[in-house]
Symmetry: C2
């Protein structure tokens, strides 16, 4: 096994978040399920955008947020995703590169714009996402930099991308490259509805040898079609080498063979915006894992990073997570 | 004098702010004068953007921020400015319309992009602005909606736009339309360097009958080429019917004929980002003035709005200023 150049390389949708506040009746009035992510077409995104209030634009994308978090912890990180040659594409590229992440993908001029996500944040801090997938879903095998993938300790895949056939093929090619190079692989299920759409293929992918599976309660229950978190966790424990399951305010659990490690949620003064909580949880865990830290410490880094992200608007860290973790005595 | 449809109509640069944090050595290393606004060309904006950290995009523009603030107070507001048909143009148009501001200007396809401002915020909350003027400076007489201007109690002009000859001509046409309709006129000097570039023309404009002049300490000293704030204020009092002068943490002064009203600055827990402090000060004052409130109350509304804007990132209100002013007992 050769030296690694990166701790983690992520593959996911390159997205700019458009974040605005709304009240609960707004969601009901527009038929939006609070806390969910749904894919919208150009007409739907226009309809919501034209009725929502003033917004803030911040780089997002699930795996991209995770990779940004790893860089903020001081990790060596890389990202593969696709943007268009427009303002939002420049914003995404700038933001991820500006924190030291290797991002070499050239902007694609296939006519589709850079992907964007309208995020509506209710007064309780919960986010409801309407994703307009533009050029980011055109990611395919030809855009994979296999040499970069082989050079990373962990390959991290975003379940959301699984909606596109050519992205599925790219995932399989990337996984093979990582495994052949003796690297670890990780997958996040991303969203309960996303799991509904691809249950069998996700299971096949996980059983084919995913080392680290990330899922929240809704996603893991959906994967195993059960109402019981315990039953779902029991199944996940058998299918993945490491199953890392998050339960919002109830904390998280790391299942590793017969062992279960419970990690409490870090207290937060005020939940401002839960966008990116799962993404940043994965960032902390993957950083700790890649650096060979104890699973419990990795879980605490995960929980700490999630607590930082929900205390402000946007899904990218507003402070250095390395400093933040040092202040909490988790790393030196 | 006919009924008014708007309390205030503003004319200014339509800009999207790209806000990131930096430390003081970064400013020094890039030869940037802290707290200033400078105009940069495409190469310069690229150079700064490529070296600055991750950023947040929020609609900005000096007069546009003021107009957004007036709408947030519950005022009837309109804006005239120019955007391109690109992502940032859509962001600007959406944000200002979403708060109820009348903004009818069609996107201009002359090749120049929507204007943007790279804002570097240092740990003390001070902002240093690098404005890349794109299509917003193409504003000329042909884009003025004179009917809208005649329908507003107050016409508010942004000094920054004065850098372009066709915008100067547009200002004069707009002022004539407002005066002929019996409306009030207001001007902000915008920036000390901007005053340096156009001192004589600004003086001529003010003396030709500007009702309300807004300036901060640096701008009014620059206008009258004096190091003494008192001397500058004395001159301003003679030239404008109302001279409203801000002095950051020292509060502000309203000079009206022989009368001087001092307004203290509202205390702020932590100054996060001073971007928009002057713009929102003008918003509070103009709203109060348009509604016929006491000058002292107008000044307090101004000071309160400035205190809200410097307590968070971005130059658009994060709360309803109407509610905020009610909580402080300034309006009912």
């Amino acid at each position: 096994m050769t030296e690694t150049r990166y701790d983690v390389i992520g593959i996911g949708n390159a997205i700019v978040d458009i974040i605005g506040r709304c009240d609960d009746p707004y969601l009901t009035g527009h038929g939006l399920a609070k806390g969910s992510m749904r894919l919208v077409n150009a007409a739907e995104v226009e309809k919501i955008y034209s009725t929502m209030g003033p917004a803030t634009e911040i780089s997002g994308g699930s795996a991209a947020n995770t990779i940004a978090g790893i860089a903020s912890f001081g990790g060596r990180a890389a990202f593969i995703g696709t943007v268009a040659n427009d303002d939002f594409g420049k914003v995404f590229s700038h933001d991820i590169r500006s924190i030291g992440v290797a991002f070499n993908a050239p902007a694609v001029a296939d006519g589709a714009p850079t992907s964007r996500c309208l995020i509506l944040v209710t007064p309780d801090g919960e986010r409801t996402m309407n994703t307009f997938l533009g050029v980011s879903t055109s990611l395919g095998e030809t855009q994979l930099d296999l040499e970069m993938i082989r050079a990373a300790s962990i390959l991290y895949l975003e379940g959301y991308l699984f909606d596109e056939p050519q992205a599925k093929a790219a995932f399989r090619t990337a996984l093979k490259a990582a495994k052949d190079a003796g690297r670890k692989t990780a997958l996040t299920l991303s969203d309960g509805f996303c799991v509904d759409r691809h249950r069998e293929e996700f299971l096949e992918l996980i059983r084919s040898g995913i080392d680290i599976l990330f899922a929240n309660e809704a996603e893991i229950k959906s994967l195993y079609q059960t109402d019981s978190f315990e039953t779902a966790a029991e199944n996940a424990r058998k299918d993945a080498k490491l199953a890392v399951l998050t339960r919002s305010g109830k904390g998280s659990e790391i299942h590793c063979g017969d062992k279960t490690i419970s990690i409490p949620a870090y207290p937060v003064e005020k939940v401002v915006d839960t966008t990116g909580a799962g993404d940043l949880y994965a960032a902390g865990f993957l950083f700790g894992y890649a650096r060979g830290l104890d699973l419990e410490i990795a879980g605490k880094l995960a929980s700490l990073a999630a607590s930082e992200i929900i205390s402000h608007i946007g899904a990218r860290p507003s402070v250095s997570l390395a400093e933040f973790a040092k202040q909490h005595g988790l790393i030196t």
